[in-house]
């Protein structure tokens, strides 16, 4: 009969009207994000050995990293993720050998001003010059002491030459 499809459509919409709603009321209930969710980034500063693998892995070079070598040890100064270029593809997190880079379950990155959009994860001042010399001096002493100890022990068993 001509109208049967039309009436069936009405029946479906009536049934749907009475079914419970699917909506998650956002500001009150937050959807429980899965563990692998690509949201805001977080960097575990101590685990990071500032090797720069993540900077190379990113398709759109979003990560800017500044390091400073003091007494032959690299120290991370600035680690800025300019997420206005970011694809949220997760290559950087995958490429990190020490799993220092990870995600937070937070998707609320909206800002009013453009210069506040980039995520500044680490931002420390470079060490003042005299601090640097002191550390260098310490390191130099340590090496000298280690060498001296080695000669002393080396001298003993190599005495016969």
């Amino acid at each position: 009969m001509f109208g049967s499809g039309l009436l069936k459509g009405l029946a479906i919409t009536w049934k749907e009207m009475l079914t419970p709603k699917v909506t998650i009321q956002y500001p009150d209930e937050i959807y429980s994000l899965p563990d692998r969710f690509h949201g805001r980034f977080k960097l575990d500063k101590d685990a990071c050995i500032s090797c720069g693998m993540c900077v190379r892995a990113c398709p759109n070079n979003v990560i800017k990293m500044e390091t400073e070598t003091v007494a032959r040890k690299k120290r991370l100064l600035k680690y800025v993720m300019d997420i206005k270029y970011c694809l949220f593809c997760g290559f950087c997190v995958e490429s990190c050998p020490k799993n220092a880079l990870g995600y937070e379950k937070d998707f609320e990155l909206a800002q009013y001003k453009l210069d506040k959009v980039p995520l500044v994860l680490v931002d420390e001042e470079p060490l003042p010059p005299e601090e640097k010399e002191r550390l260098e001096a310490e390191a130099a002493q340590k090496i000298a002491a280690a060498k001296a100890k080695k000669e002393a022990s080396g001298g003993k068993d190599k005495g016969g030459e």
Partner: protein, 349 residues
Amino acid sequence: MENIFVNISGSIRELIGVLGLPPLFNEAVMITVKVTGILLFIVLNALWLVYMERKVAGYIQCRYGPNRVGPKGLLQTAADISKLISKEIIIPSGADKILFLLAPVLIFTPPLMVFMVVPFGQNMAAVDLNIGVFYFLAVASLSTVIFWIAGWASNNKYSLLGGMRVVAQMISYELPMVLAVLGVVMITGTLNMSDIVRAQENLWFIFAQPVAFLIYFIAGVAECNRVPFDLTEGESEIVAGPFTEYSGMGFALFFLAEYTNVMLVSFMAATLFLGGWLAPFGLTIIPGWAWMLIKVYIMIFLFMWLRWTYPRVRVDQLMGFGWKVLVPLSLANIFITGVAIKVLDKMGW
């Protein structure tokens, strides 16, 4: 409770009568009181219907409608309308300025004029014309011209197309509506709204004239440009039809006029077919005018239900359906009603 409003108007009449002014003056005051009452009723109802439509849409699509603005979202339409009031009104270059501004103002007048005649309850019609139905059909077809003015004046190809579609659609669905209503008028023999309602004392006309009700309902949907016949404002085809160029208050008036038209057609359907203020099965604990409102809201819900279920018809299919199906059907209905009346007279009813 039954005629609370009749008493109010009676007491106002005495109040003015005391002043001892010429009778013509009291009539004028009474009419203005009635008009403002009806205007207030319409605007409040239109605001409520916009909210109801979005809630019904939400519930049909298994989501919640507006529920954050004000208690349970009730102030949503108030926020919309006051935002639209304060929007900048842009008059496109090359538009016919006077007509462009005139159309939104005029769009409200035909439904307002017809509401004068609508019997809200037991002898509660503002003006109980004895040619009520004829007046309704005549004035209701005026809004076609106003849509066309809006479409023509805004100097935009989409609006022109929308305007042409409006004229084609509303005129070709005027005819089946008239013929359907004719069926009812033939049974009652009068054009007076209140008499028609009184004539439905023992049998509502929806049962006497089911086909006429169906035709009237379909033609009503087409008159108000509602889905499945919303070709004038077909979003996906011609953006927003005749009111593409309207912004701010102009668009708000069109937006509310659509709901006023829906209310108007529902009131008429309730009066002509669902027995106006007559309580079904004699349950008169609820006053007459409340029954009228309940029936009107059932009809309006039907309009909304259709809107959120059906896709849109194409222009030529619309015309074909109107002329080739509805008009012959309504003519046949008139013929059968005529024969039935004659046969029943013979059998002495």
